[in-house]
Subunit: 417 residues, 2 copies
């Protein structure tokens, strides 16, 4: 399989590590933050600008791209990389999170989930196999299994059912993913991953039906733009809310399926910060050392630091981009709400300690004017700064790891007022 | 006065010329196109991007800046250049055009124009002196006289009244402008420009009252950020619709006041193209050879070429930027309406002959997706391309002039289907 994870440094005090994630479209330095490019674009940023910011991997939202322009149109363009002219790594989510969090949710069944488009109310069906198929059309470097993400708080029974369904769906996704890979001539290394393997550790796959909702075999998509060398890796998603026993069950079942990476899902949905950190750490400890660990939908700059300290390698969050459009900037002195009247005559840079293109050129006075008057440039500049702040935070975290100074860095940042 | 116009080449066949306009914030190669930066920003473009595109001068809208953030806030920041971090030339309009074309118009009187803000309905008064005062606070390189721009079609009487009022306002603006300049220690060269001059050619100024609408002397604004060396030049605006006799009267009266440059106003308001071209040429011929000529609010790429052929040096228009936001691109093959379904699967660049950053990186398929889904990046990329197209058109026009090939270039472009 095309991705390879290489650990360079492991911190001696915390669970943090720094590494390299090799993908078909380039090497990602981990820990890494993935800006969210919802509909094939990080809102307000050009691809040139993302490159200049040092973005190494983007996240694409399958739900949005499936609805518009449609995954077939993207496959036809040669996949998402070529469609949006982003020749660097991309990770796509399964679409499940949007389907279940947007009010469009129809019904979760054993087969998959029926949902209505938030655009025109049309009815659609997403199954584990279909999520793989759509993501193959997008052709990212990493794709995600369809999972059931549960709201917080939720009953133990509700969480247990979601873990169980997520496990069954993960098996179906894994099988579908492997079949497509082999159909393209890909060779699956090692016994643990054979579709017809007799290895006990793989037994989970044998009872997966792999059938579509109407009992038919999943339709084989045209994968002309993919080869075994560019085939997207598949990550499993551990669920279980903040329940450690359920997290353990979920992780063990997924480990059995031998994914190329593992995500911690179902967090940052409203639980207290301390529980989020505890659960992330507990779950990360259950996952194999040699696979990348991805904490989905997290979080603030502090969350990145705390997540890394707990053994997380990958993060994504809309916060730097969405908050920017709402005139909220992340700075070394905390959040700056740029529409605030106090900035109307403030000729300082947004963040006096920042070296980004925005802080080098523009004042708070000007940024406030742009955001108050709804000028596009306000959102553009605030987004640029926020992404720079996130990426720079992660770069400093990684540097401290490479220099063996992470624990000290961690303490120093936590001690800030 | 700080601006200086230098003619490098005059075409032997047409009225076209190429030159250099020296301003306090840099040299502008003429003929030039000025992108419109309405509220202190060219919508969707960063200042870095404008520089990379080769923009040499921006137009700022006094009406919009006066209302938000307010000219006092901009003066306090050190003027518009510093406020928006654009250290290159800027021209500001007088605000009159917006006041009279937005439905907010209250009433035109001899003193000036009462209007209501389109934002909150508040009542404001703009006089020739007030327009100078506000524009001094903005501190551009070139400012414009308040004029009365008449709709098309209009009666001869209506046009005549507007020419007459525009002339009286021009005198008041000129006097106010000169007083402020001298107050800062500026020396007015030559007899023609002395406020108390005894020269006959200057007699027009003597009867200008220079009084505000309430009969008081215009309030002296704080001009701390201006010096005689950075003091904005003042351009007069010729009115008269498509009536040649009125144009002549208007031009002669303004020439008497000896402005540092002259604009042709009141065109591109609905008259036929041929009349616009005729009037521009007729008016340009009335203007002194050694002063820059500015055709306001014009136009299409073809209009630039035809305007230059008729002796125009400067142009501004919202078309490249506004059309871009409406998904209309200018290309070497004509207009491309990017939301059209025919581009949904079109993997060609927007303009195959274009070398801009957008055409080198993105497909029509992608641009259409962005514009159909309302993504900011769609407007950003289309604006970038359109501005490149306009600036490149002007560069090619200027090159042909410098190489003595303008007439040939003009014929060749006009012969295109």
């Amino acid at each position: 399989m095309p991705i390879k994870f290489e650990i360079l440094v492991e911190d001696k005090v915390t669970r943090a590590r720094a590494g390299l994630l090799h993908t078909p479209h380039g090497v990602i330095e981990t820990p890494t933050f993935m800006p969210v490019g919802t509909g094939g674009t990080v809102k307000g940023m050009t691809q040139d600008e993302l490159e200049a910011l040092g973005v190494q991997i983007l996240l694409g939202n399958t739900y949005h791209l499936y609805l518009r322009p449609g995954h077939e149109l993207i496959r036809e363009a040669g996949g998402l990389h070529r469609f949006m002219s982003w020749p660097h790594p991309i990770l796509t989510d399964s679409g499940g999170f949007q389907v279940m969090s947007l009010k469009s949710l129809g019904r979760v069944t054993e087969d998959g989930v029926w949902f209505r488009s938030h655009l025109d109310g049309s009815s659609h069906f997403l199954s584990p196999e279909r999520a793989v198929e759509i993501q193959m059309a997008l052709g990212a470097d990493i794709m995600m299994c369809l999972d059931e993400c549960v709201e917080y708080p939720a009953s133990h029974e509700r969480l247990e059912r979601a873990v169980s369904l997520t496990t069954r769906w993960a098996k179906r996704a894994k099988l579908s993913h492997r079949e497509q890979f082999e159909r393209l001539g890909g060779k699956v290394p090692g016994a643990r991953c054979q579709a017809s393997g007799k290895d006990g550790a793989n037994s989970g796959l044998r009872d997966a039906s792999g059938l579509g909702p109407d009992g038919s075999l999943p339709k084989s998509p045209d994968t002309g733009h993919l080869t075994p060398d560019t085939f997207p890796a598949l990550f499993g998603i551990v669920q279980g809310g903040t329940d450690k026993e359920l997290r353990r069950q979920s992780a063990e079942a997924l480990l059995d399926l031998d994914f190329e990476g593992y995500a911690v899902g179902g967090l940052a949905v409203g639980e207290p910060k301390s529980e989020m950190y505890d659960t992330a750490q507990f779950t990360a400890e259950l996952l194999p050392r040699d696979r990348p660990r991805y904490l989905m939908g997290v979080g603030t700059p502090e969350d990145l630091l705390e997540g890394v300290a707990r053994g997380i390698d990958m993060f994504d969050c809309v916060m730097p981009t969405r908050n920017a459009r709402n005139a909220c900037a992340f700075t070394s002195e905390g959040k700056v709400i740029l529409k605030n009247a106090r900035y109307a005559r403030d000729d300082r840079p947004l963040d006096p300690s920042c070296t980004c293109a925005v802080c080098r050129r523009y004042t708070r006075r000007y940024l406030r004017h742009l955001l108050v008057t709804g000028e596009m440039l306000g959102a553009i500049l605030a987004t640029h700064h926020n992404l720079h702040f996130y990426l720079d935070t992660m770069r400093r975290i990684r540097q401290s790891l490479l220099f063996g100074e992470f624990a000290e860095f961690h303490c120093r940042v936590r001690a800030r007022p």
